[in-house]
Symmetry: C2
Subunit: 101 residues, 2 copies
């Protein structure tokens, strides 16, 4: 990665569980909403499969630098997604941000 | 990612802390040892910068599928690195494995 680049990831569990229509809808809607935000690159909705932690899913995305990351965080689409979907459908989560050494 | 592909990540802290010569040596040696193992792709040694968790570093790598991942896990170089360096220099860690939905 370039020096300023950030890989932002969040691993999470859903009230609706690891399978099923409601779960699929959340992942699909999250992908659609979050990828519509300028500056979001290399977005992936993923299944977390390690038995060594208790999370079921992950969103992974990259930003060219801190400005793009901050613009994403404060973007109305992100703020609305967090308020309307994340806070009502996600039971627990952990955020991880990587930069080059 | 292709359906079988796995992104394996571990976030961790070191006894030697987030900076300094011993820490740099661990990251450098880890990169050298782990990237020498067949099947390890897209390896990155990274700094974990989110204030929302308490880990300082990450190793990230990809495998073409479960067979390559298992071969890595049981490879003598990996086993030796875990025994000789990981278990003596890492204070805590969390493993995360992603696959496509």
């Amino acid at each position: 990665m370039k020096p300023t680049r950030i890989r932002h990831q969040v691993i999470f569990c859903l009230k609706s569980g690891a399978q099923g229509e409601t779960t699929e809808r959340f992942l699909r809607d999250g992908t659609r909403e979050l990828t519509s935000i300028p500056g979001v690159e290399a977005f992936q909705a993923l299944r977390q499969v390690s038995p060594k932690n208790d999370y079921d899913f992950g969103f992974s995305m990259e930003f060219s630098g801190p400005e793009a990351y901050e613009a994403y965080n404060s973007h109305p689409t992100h703020v609305a997604f967090v308020r309307e979907r994340w806070q009502t459908e996600v039971t627990r989560f952990l955020e991880i941000d990587f930069r080059n050494l």
